[in-house]
Each structure stands twice: as C-alpha cells, then as structure tokens.
C-alpha cells in the first residue's frame, strides 16, 4: 500500500511540475511570495484564504500566492525544489526536514503553541478509550506525514509491539483531518486520528459533523504545526514575513483572520517544541533530519 501511495504521489507531483511550475521561484527575486499550505488547518475555506492572501500581500508590499496540494509530501517536495518560500507544515515533516528548513512562526492556540492528537470514534461507540482497543477494525489516518494524524497513533501501536498494517483490518489515508472526521462520522472507519485543533475548530463551525464522532483519547501536547522557511529564502524576506506574522494579532484585520483560524496569535517558537515528535520518530525507526 505504501508503495502504491508513494507512486500516486509522485505521479501527481510530476504532473504538477509539468503543468505549472516549469521555473523555480529562486530564479527571479521579483516573483510573488509563494506560501505552501497543507491541511493542518481547514484549508478548504477558499474565500477566507483569498482575503488572507490579499492581507499578507498588502503587508508585504508584494504579491503573495498560496499553493495548496493534496498531501504534505507534495508541499515538502516543492519546498525542497525551492518552488516555495514558506509553508505551513506539520511538525512531523519539519522535524524530518529541519536540516534545511527554518522555523518561521508557530501559531498559538489556546494560549500555547501546542496542540494534541485526538483519537476519534463514531458517537455510538462508547467503549473505545485508546487506539489499541481498535484491533482488527478499519482506521482512518489523515496524512502519512502528519504527526497527529499518523505519527502519534503509529508510535502508540509501535509501543504495543505492533504496526498499523498488522493491527488494523484496514487503514487508509484521507489526506485531510476534516475528512478523517467525515470518515468516522459516516462510519466508514471505526476510528481515526485527527488534529485536535482541527477537530475543536470543526466542533465550532460544523457541530453536526463532529457531534457524530466522539473523542476517545487525547495525546499529550505537541508543538503546533509551524510555518517554515525554505533554504533559498533571504534572511530579509524571512524576517519580514516573521514580523508580519508575529504582529498579525495587533491590527484589527489580522486579528479577524486569526479569529477565523481559531488561533490566538503567532510566536517565534523554538525547535525544542518538536522534541517529542523527534523522539517518536526515532522510536519507530524513521530517519530524522
């Protein structure tokens, strides 16, 4: 399955490269600022994104483009090829790629730059309390590069001396936290791993969806999915972007966008926030950058 998954990702990537990105961002400094977005937040609010983009562009004094892809991996790949300046990624790919990525800003959620992974089950399931209760069931992950949506439950199964492939009857990726909630709400899956911040935000905006699920287990806090800077971005641009993000909560328009994102503000953060993710990565035997 994983091989097929990777194959599909590569095919998609190749198509995308052939279609729209025949040239690199770095080749031309006057190019718009390109920011890669991943479904670490509710990235399907197109109208909101347009407004936020315009707001950032105004603050930067430069055109801004948001680039969205179906998986975290595609964004990381675009970043690796210097086709993006910044990206909002999960802590997991950041830890893996921190050799060449710089931490730009970390969202502050409920007062802290932290979030949790939720184990959710259908609302009618009142017995499950941890992922290891779901042996031989169907399980939904969000993205193979998601900490909350894959790494954490994987790590837990690992500690129970098993693996997703062996433990579950069937597991699959939805490539978005919101879709994990849908998969569990529609009872396609008996359980799912989801970003706690996304679930909480959905509970506010789409209670009819989250009410059909129940949070069975909450992970310890992890560093919130960060904004990162690509390696070819100049320090000046990095600083400029950082200033804008960190000051976003200070002007009314920026505060409105933060409210809509269900975030308090941005903070500079430190790589130490992601030490736990790194520890889990090592525990399951994955390479760390």
């Amino acid at each position: 399955m994983n091989r097929r998954q990777a194959l599909s990702g590569l095919v998609g990537l190749a198509l995308a490269l052939a279609g729209r990105f025949g040239h690199a961002v770095a080749a031309n400094g006057a190019e718009p600022v390109r920011i890669g977005l991943t479904p670490v937040f509710l990235d399907d609010q197109v109208g909101f994104l347009g407004a936020w983009r315009d707001h950032l562009a105004q603050a930067m004094g430069r055109q801004v483009e948001f680039i969205q892809r179906g998986s975290y991996r595609e964004i990381v790949e675009l970043m690796r090829q210097d086709k993006l300046h910044f990206a909002w990624l999960c802590g997991y790919p950041y830890v893996r790629e921190q050799r060449w990525m710089r931490l730009l800003a970390v969202p502050v959620y409920e007062g802290q730059p932290l979030y949790r992974s939720y184990l959710i089950v259908p609302a009618h399931d009142s017995v499950t309390t941890k992922v290891t209760d779901l042996r031989d069931r169907v399980f939904a992950f969000s993205d193979p590069d998601s900490n909350s949506g894959y790494l954490y439950p994987h790590y837990q199964l690992n500690r129970a001396n098993t693996s997703p492939a062996n433990f579950f009857r069937r597991s699959f990726f939805t490539y978005a936290h919101k879709k994990v909630v849908e998969a569990v709400a529609l009872a396609v899956a008996h359980g799912g791993a989801v970003d706690g911040y996304v679930w909480d935000t959905l509970a506010r905006t789409h209670p009819e969806l989250t009410s059909r699920t129940r949070v069975a287990d909450r992970s310890p806090p992890f560093g919130f999915p960060p904004f990162v800077t690509g390696r070819s971005v100049s320090p000046a641009l990095h600083r400029r972007m950082q200033q804008i993000l960190l000051a976003m909560h200070e002007d009314p328009a920026g505060a409105r966008f933060l409210r809509q994102l269900n975030l308090d503000r941005f903070t500079g953060g430190s790589p130490a926030l992601y030490a736990d993710i790194e520890r889990m990565l090592r525990a399951i035997g994955q390479p760390v950058g």
Partner: protein
C-alpha cells in the same frame, strides 16, 4: 332503500354514461401508466448502466492506487442528494469479492466477503462469479434493483461496482406520473361529463315524456298534441307514433263507451217508464171500468156507489203504494241494529219458509248493537230472504249468514233454487224487472237503493244450484239514529 331499477331514466342514462366514461378513462389511463412504468423502468436501467459505466471509469485510478478514501468520496458524491436520483447505495468490491468500500458501511463493512452480507449480496456475488465480459448487468432482488458494473484497467479486473436502487425511487417517480395522469384524466372527465350528461338527458327526456303521457291514461287521455316528440325513424320515434295511435284508439273507445252508456241510460229510463206505466195502468183500467159501470147503472144505487168508491180507493191506494215504493225513504228515523232485530226477521220469515216447506238456515253472529239503522237493514234482509224463498223449489234450502268484520256488517243470502240467467243479471236491480213469478219487481230495486244510501255494496253471483246475494255495509256511516231508550 333506493333500487337502481326504480330510478328515472332522466338520471339513469346520464349515470350509466358517467360510469362508462369513467371506466373508459380509468382503463385507458391504467394501461398507459402500465406502459409508462415499463418504459420508465427500462430507461432507468439503461441510464443506470450507462451512468455506472462512466462512474466505474473514474473509480479506476483510486482503486488502482488503493486510495480507499478517494473511491469513497467519488461514490458518496454519486449518491448524495445533489448527485441525482440514480443510486441509493453504491458498494465497491475487490477482485476477491471482498467489500472495498460502500456508501452504506453499516451493511457492507470494509473487507468483509460480499457473500456474507445477506441473501441479495450472495446472489450478486454468484452473478459476479459467473459472468465474464465488461458489460453492466442488472438484477432485481426483492424490491431492489442492482446494477453491477466491472471496474477494469487495461484488461485487468480491479473489482466491481454494485449500484443499488430502492424501488421507492421508482415508486416516487411513478407516483408523480400517476398523479399527473390522474389529474389529466379528471380534467378530461370534467370536460366530457357535462357533454355525456347532456346527451343522456336528451335521450331520456322523450322517454320520460312518453311515460308521463301514458301515466295520465288512468285519469284522462292526453290530447293528440300532448305528445311532443321529434319526428324520427328510430325506436323512440316508433314508440311515439305507436303511443299516439294508441291514445287515438283509446279516445275513440271512450267516446263509444260514452255513447253506449247514454243509450243504456235511455233504455233504463224507457224500461222504468214502461214499468211505472204498467203498474199504474192496471188499477187505472179497473177504476175506469168501475166509473163507467157506475154511470151506466144508476147513480141512485147507494150500494153500487159504495162499491165503486171502494174500488176507486183500492186502485188509488195501489197507485200510491207503487209511487211510494219508488221513493225510498232512507232517512227514516231508526234505532241501532241489534241481534234482536235480526231474530225478529227470522221469526217473521219462518212461516213463509214453512209454507214452501223449505229449510231456512239462520246463522247470525252479531255481538252487540252496531251503528246501522235497524229498520233499513231489516228491510234489506227481508227482501233478500223473501226473494230466496220465492226462488227455491219446495224442500229447497235458504241460508242466511250475518256477521261483522273490520270493514263492517256482512250479509249473505244463499239459495239452491232456480238460478238467475246471466242475461238478466245486469238489469237485476232496476225497478219492475220482476221474475217470471210476477211481482212488481221493486224489491231488489229498493234493496239496492237502501244499500246505496248506506254507502254499502251489494253483489250477486248465480249459477245452477247456487245463487248468492252478498251485502256489505260499512259501520262508519253516521246516520241519525234514535237514541236508545
């Protein structure tokens, strides 16, 4: 309870027309709907198959890449309310006939073998086993329709897509069709019914008119121009002409009867006059004889004068009797009739019967006094019994039955004497129609008058060996009866 047969044609014909129109419309609508239903079903299966083929193409990539969620999103979009009314549930199965994913995960959980999910699923699984080729197949199990489409990529089978329609979808569409067809039928009925009603009335009206005309015949015969029918050669026209002819003949017959009755009455008056003349002439002749004898043989013979006077007196008395017998005094005061009155008559008549050595059987069943004038009833009874005693041969029998019924008093006087010839019966109650034995023939006439005065009825039956006079007198007549002493 109103019987349909009793309803006027005025309503029956339009009603029948209505039923006929309604039946025709219903049958036509039903047959059209049936055809429409078959077409709808076929179209639905066809379009389902085409649609399935298209959908299965889009499922190739997710199934090939084992992207379960994308496959689910595709089939979910296809079955969502906005995805059209094509499908109820879509289930994908892998080449090993395990459930890949379904829009109804509760019924079709992921990875379970399809044939374990109920009878319908077992049948579908065996159909998948048997069939080769890449065409859609449809299957009806219970109230559900299944369209099964293979998902192939480059000649390799990736699985099957099973589309499940609940028949309620068909029913909903069909109900819509039915409703509109019914509405159209009703509108057509609304247009046709007044017309059929009008035609029905037009057909019924001449019949009703004829029935009215014929119905009058008992009381009066309608005029020739009372029948207003359009001239036609159909059955109604024929009946109309026949009725007109019949009425003409009836009118002629009535005129003839009037004429006959008139001449009958004249004849009766002639007979009556003859009788009176005869009855008066007889004493008149004797009296004129006596006067002429007295003139011839001296007026100084006092004995002759006395005899002549006596003769004249008797003659005049006879004439007076005759005249007074003609004037029946029905209103004469009388007391109510009691059993004793009847018994008096019996006693009075016994010697007459003895004279003729005839048997007089007397059977009186009168409980008490009844409100009928005793004198008149006695006179009727005496007349009838005397006539009967005259009629019997010596040693014959006269029977008299008297009783009271709910209708009133009844008297029946029977005798076994000579019977009355049929030719005489019509004139029996006319005056001076005496029998061969002589008598002035006023008895029965008087009897008839009295019975008539009392609003009663008298009848006679006569055949060789039995003659019966029967009298019925209603009790309700309020006559001025003497108060009982």
């Amino acid at each position: 309870m109103l019987n349909f047969r009793d309803i006027s044609f005025r309503y029956k014909i339009p009603l029948r027309a209505t039923v006929l129109v309604f039946l025709t419309a219903s049958v036509l609508t039903a047959s059209l709907l049936l055809r429409e239903y078959r077409d709808l079903r076929r179209d639905m299966l066809d379009s389902s198959a085409r649609w399935s083929a298209v959908l299965s193409q889009t499922l190739v990539s997710p199934m090939l890449h084992d992207d379960l969620w994308r496959a689910f999103e595709i089939i979910r979009a296809a079955t969502s309310p906005g995805g059209g009314d094509q499908a109820g549930v879509i289930t994908l199965v892998d080449p090993r006939e395990r459930i890949y994913v379904s829009t109804d995960p509760a019924r079709y959980p992921i990875l379970l073998p399809l044939h374990e999910r109920g009878d319908a699923a077992r049948e579908i699984a065996s159909l998948i086993d048997d069939a080769a080729g890449s065409d859609s197949r449809s299957l009806e199990i219970g109230d559900r329709l299944y369209v099964i489409t293979p998902i192939d990529a480059d000649g390799v089978r990736l699985g099957h897509m099973i589309l499940e329609h609940t028949s309620s979808f068909m029913q909903a569409r069909f109900a819509g069709m039915w409703l509109s067809a019914t509405l159209v039928t009703l509108v057509v009925l609304l247009l046709i019914l007044p017309v059929s009603w009008y035609w029905g009335r037009r057909m019924a009206d001449p019949l009703v008119h004829l029935a009215d005309c014929i119905g009058q015949v008992g009381t009066k015969i309608p005029d020739a121009d009372a029948i207003r029918l359009e001239q036609s050669q159909d059955e109604l026209g024929q009946v109309g002409r026949a009725v007109a002819r019949m009425l003409d003949e009836l009118r002629e017959k009535q005129a003839l009867e009037h004429e006959m009755m008139f001449s009958e009455r004249l004849a009766a008056i002639g007979r009556l006059t003859g009788g009176i003349a005869h009855e008066i002439n007889n004493p008149l002749g004797g009296m004129l004889n006596a006067i002429s004898t007295y003139r011839r043989h001296g007026s100084n013979d006092p004995e002759l004068a006395a005899r002549t006077m006596s003769l004249l007196e008797r003659g005049l008395l006879q004439i007076r009797d005759t005249v007074s017998a003609l004037l029946v005094e029905a209103k004469a005061p009388s007391h109510p009739l009691g059993p004793q009155d009847i018994e008096d008559v019996h006693i009075l008549l016994k010697p007459e019967a003895a004279k003729k050595s005839a048997a007089l059987l007397w059977n009186c069943d009168l409980p008490d006094e009844i409100p009928l004038p005793a004198t008149l009833v006695r006179q009727v009874l005496i007349n009838l019994v005397l006539n009967a005693l005259h009629a019997v041969e010596p040693g014959g029998t006269v029977a008299c039955d008297i009783g009271v019924t709910a209708e009133g008093m009844t008297m029946a006087v029977r005798n076994d004497g000579r019977h009355i010839e049929a030719s005489r019966l019509p004139y029996l109650f006319e005056p001076f129609v005496g029998d061969a034995n002589g008598g002035h023939g006023l008895g029965l006439w008087i009897t008839y008058q009295i019975v008539n005065e009392l609003d009663g009825h008298i009848s006679v039956q006569s055949e060789p060996g039995l003659t019966v006079f029967a009298v019925e007198l209603p009790l309700r007549v309020a006559l001025e009866l003497e108060s009982p002493p």
